[in-house]
């Protein structure tokens, strides 16, 4: 049987085997390496207060905190009634241009319990109800660096948090929540939503003494700007 001649069969089998090995070793699996989701950001630029057309809408913003009651039970929540934005410069596509500075009056804490809000909390914070811009009464956040998040459209912010006489660098997450427009032409109004979340160790890092809360406090800030 001529076709079974070794001189024909051997190179043929080797060629076929070699072809198979070549196809199977194409390293196409490398294409499966993921560098993360494709994130598309817009080009929004906001500068408050340097851009006079931008205003901070305090009425529709809030600063909330929460911590497990007694350190490990259900969450105890509260907010600060008095807060404001010193500066807010936002560049959606170039986070190096994003900077912000904000404040709260600590003695404006509101947990819906007047007795607690006006009593033991003031003592814990080292404030009194009649303080205003006293250093002990003002907690501030001041951004230092902002980078794009690789997991979503948010931004990772390193900032200085000043509270209870202590300043410490923390890391938080800034999100641009979107824009709503109403009216048109001369009556066009835009509202921009932002949120900023972070956590800090109230007892370990900021000297808060209390058995009613956990060390870890979660803070969630929401801000609306209008143009």
């Amino acid at each position: 049987m001529k076709f079974l001649n070794n001189k024909i069969l051997l190179p043929l089998v080797i060629l076929i085997s070699g072809y198979g090995y070549m196809i199977s070793c194409t390293h196409e699996n490398d294409l499966l390496i993921s560098t993360g989701p494709k994130i598309e950001r817009g080009t929004l630029v906001l500068n408050f207060p340097s851009d006079g057309s931008i205003s901070f809408d305090k009425t529709h913003g809030n600063v909330n905190w929460e911590t497990p009651y007694l350190g490990e039970l259900s969450v105890l929540t509260g907010r600060f009634n008095n807060f404001g934005m010193t500066t807010f410069n936002f560049d959606e596509d170039n986070p190096a241009n994003t900077k912000f500075e904000a404040w709260v009056w600590v003695n404006s804490v509101n947990t819906s319990e007047p007795g607690r809000d006006g009593g033991c909390l003031q003592t814990t914070f080292g404030t009194t109800k009649d303080m205003t811009t006293d250093a002990a009464n003002v907690a501030t956040i001041k951004s230092k660096s902002v980078e794009k998040s690789t997991a979503d459209k948010g931004y990772i912010v390193k900032f200085d948090f000043t509270f209870h006489g202590v300043t410490k660098e923390l890391t938080g997450k800034l999100m641009y929540d979107g824009m709503q427009a109403s009216g048109d032409g001369a009556t066009l109004k835009k509202a921009y939503g932002f949120s900023f979340d972070f956590q800090f160790l109230a007892k370990t890092d900021f000297g808060i003494i209390s058995n009613n809360i956990a060390d870890n406090i979660t803070v969630k800030c929401n801000a609306i700007f209008r143009q």
């Binding site: 070794n6 051997l10 089998v13 076929i16 085997s17 198979g20 196809i23 199977s24 196409e28």
Partner: protein, 173 residues
């Protein structure tokens, strides 16, 4: 999916044999001037090695069918019945009459080698198909190794037996 697994099993056992067969014959022709007795023994033992691989294949099938060797289990275990029955027929090469013609073992193993070629043709144009070919080539490499080891084992046993008989005859004389 089970059909594909069965196909991989068949490739793993039998598809490497044609390469081993052709290589042994090629080397026997190339090294004609050297120990022809040894070369003839290698060629003569090829079907025996193939029969050994076939026996191992039956062992795998029995393992898959057990613990209950019922007709229902046996028929459920055969997902590619024709090819698997063809594979089982490899044990016929234990029969000396069939073993005298080594080329029959090559012909018997060719359908399994053709399984590889079939996948090369049908699966080469898609990414998932290339994964299939990758699996096939892993099984093919395994098959080459299995058939080589089988041939070496059979050769070693044959050599050992012959040596034992020669010494026995020498002692008897």
């Amino acid at each position: 999916m089970t059909d594909y697994i069965n196909q991989l099993q068949l490739i793993a056992f039998f598809s490497g044999y044609p390469l081993i067969y052709i290589l042994v014959n090629f080397l026997a022709i190339t090294c004609r001037k050297e120990n022809t007795l040894v070369q003839r023994r290698w060629i003569r033992l090829l079907p025996v090695a193939y029969a050994l691989v076939g026996t191992l294949f039956i062992g795998l099938l029995l393992k898959n069918i057990s613990p209950e060797l019922s007709l229902k289990n046996i028929s459920a275990g055969f997902h590619s019945p024709y090819l698997e029955v063809w594979g089982i027929m490899a044990i016929l090469f234990w029969v000396p009459a069939l073993g005298k013609k080594p080329v029959f073992s090559l012909l018997h193993s060719l359908p399994f080698f053709l399984l590889l070629i079939k996948d090369f043709i049908l699966q080469a144009n898609s990414i998932s198909g290339r994964s299939v070919i990758e699996n096939d080539m892993k099984m093919y490499s395994l098959s080459i190794l299995l058939n080589t080891v089988s041939l070496v084992v059979v050769f070693g046993l044959s050599y050992g037996l012959n040596h034992f008989h020669a010494r026995r005859n020498h002692t008897a004389n």
